[in-house]
């Protein structure tokens, strides 16, 4: 017993500064590299973009201060900007279709039959593909004459349509391609959400006589709120970031009808006939403010969750 209690207590020694402040200092040491990287590559560039957006600059020579000139031109009737902006709006709204579609597939697959895991993975598959590949795949799918879509339409007796060649349809065609992986993403979110649905609530609802749609609407969906929230956030962000697909599928065409802000920005800044960095930066800033709206919403709801936590 005696040796059990001989305490391994260190003698009172004068401790170093680090030791005394260990708990206060450690987090900053751990944060340092991450913050450094992030600041250099993300935070500072955001402000640089703001700065650049007040200049005219071809990326090579001197920047020329033009004040709000770029914005005036941008918002003062730049048709490309208008087209891009409205296309972005289309993206925002139509991309959200991924949420109900994902939910639908998730409900369909939320069963326990043999091999269902494999089915779930296969349905999820498109999400893993690079957008470049998705874009290629769909542009072949849409080929005006040989595309599978027209082959199918032909069987039904409709078509042919040239989706990507028709300025009124092209954007929708690209969005549809984007919906493919995005739906898969939402599906997986909902599948995990469904796992977390409280079975007792479902049982309570069964006793309450809720069935089918009513069950879905009144009991299941409200419980899937967290999944819906995340799906909403990632879909919005995906919609606003859409670049790869447009670049691969139409390159903004036909005659600019599928541009969105992010693509237009790239085009103005870095493309073949571009190198108007200031103007591009101004577009990016506008896009940033649109996104900021959603970021703020996301952060706000996170903040609400964080309050009260440890």
């Amino acid at each position: 017993m005696t040796d059990m209690v001989s305490p391994p207590i260190p003698p009172q020694r004068s401790r170093g500064w680090y030791k005394r402040n260990e708990i206060a200092v450690t987090p900053w040491l751990f944060l340092l590299p991450g913050i450094l990287f992030f600041a250099v590559y993300v935070i500072i560039p955001i402000f640089q973009s703001f700065w650049i957006s007040f200049h005219e600059w071809d990326g090579l020579g001197e920047k020329v201060w033009v004040g709000t000139g770029n914005y005036e031109r941008l918002l003062g009737g730049d048709r490309k900007f208008e087209v891009s902006f409205w296309n972005n709006i289309k993206w925002l709204f139509l991309y959200l279709l991924a949420i109900p579609a994902g939910l639908f597939i998730a409900l369909l697959l939320n069963q326990t039959v043999r091999g269902i895991r494999l089915y779930k993975s296969m349905f999820f598959f498109p999400f893993v593909l690079s957008q470049v590949v998705v874009g290629l795949v769909f542009s072949w799918f849409y080929l005006p004459r040989e595309g599978l879509l027209n082959a199918i339409l032909g069987v039904v007796g409709a078509g042919p349509v040239n989706i990507l060649g028709d300025p009124t349809l092209a954007t929708y065609g690209i969005i549809a391609a984007g919906l493919w992986p995005q739906t898969a993403y939402c599906m997986i979110l909902y599948l995990t959400g469904l796992n977390a649905v409280d079975p007792e609530q479902i049982e309570a609802a069964r006793l309450d006589g809720a069935k089918g749609w009513k069950m879905l609407w009144y009991v299941v969906l409200p419980q899937l709120r967290p999944a819906t929230f995340i799906a909403f956030v990632v879909t919005i962000i995906g919609a606003l970031r859409s670049f790869d697909l447009i670049s691969v599928m139409t390159n903004g065409g036909p005659f600019g009808s599928t541009r969105v802000l992010s693509f237009y920005m790239f085009e103005e800044s870095l493309s073949e006939f571009g190198f108007r960095m200031g103007y591009g930066a101004a577009i990016a800033v506008v896009l940033f403010f649109i996104m900021l709206f959603f970021i703020a919403y996301f952060l706000y709801s996170m903040y609400r969750d964080e309050k009260g936590a440890r």
Partner: protein, 282 residues
Amino acid sequence: MFPTPIEKTSRTWQLTYQALLPVALAIWLLPLIAVATFSIKPDADFTNGNYWGLPSSFEFFTNYGKVFFESDMPRYMLNSVLITVPTVIGAVALSCMTGFALGVYKFNGNLWIFFMFIAGNFVPFQILMVPVRDLSVDLGLYDTKLGLVLFHVAFQTGFCTLFMRNFIRALPYALIEAARVEGISEWRIFFFVVMPLMKPALAALAVLIFTFIWNDYFWAVVLTQGPDAQPVTAGITSFNSQYRAAYHLMSAGSIVAALPPVAMFFLMQKHFIAGLTLGAVK
């Protein structure tokens, strides 16, 4: 669960369901199946307009052989590996540290720094494009794999921090207090107590970041050019311009480019899905 569990429904409906699944899957993956078929067709099928029929001959080896031996694809693939793997390691390592700091310690500004990471992660990355490109050029990192890696590490740190921090926060705080009472220094707590517990999160995050980075196209275009440094997503477009209108080769090339993340997905499925749901954001 919902809707009615299939085993509680009528036998006919069960059978219908089972029969319907493969059909639904085939429709869902139709574009992909089409490309896979393309990739084993001979050139002649396209000139003869046999786009959607069965391949008139099986040209798997010819087509894929061309991709592997007569193009830059292998070089691009290697680039992708050399970009993706260090990025994954770097981003995960950095975010373990930031996640630990933000998840464990209470200090002024904790939440604000955390929010900074999240907000940065959601920023439309186009706004970073011009400055980051200039920065890379200035540092001599333009058109190098290192340049891409550094940027990706930095940018992904936002997402990874969100992920790690939330994971660490969900660990029982008593574990850390117990260690403190035992006189274990903070960095040892990180290495010996927290890190071992983060293994599942590390795996999930690594898989996730791997696919994100592998599939990146935008930054590949902005920060690199040419087969020296460009990853396969960019490589595929130049491969395609080389074989413009040769659908069989383009399909084979696309499939090759898509293969690693797909393989990753199937091998690490559990982690992958865990990652998506743990982090639940991109």
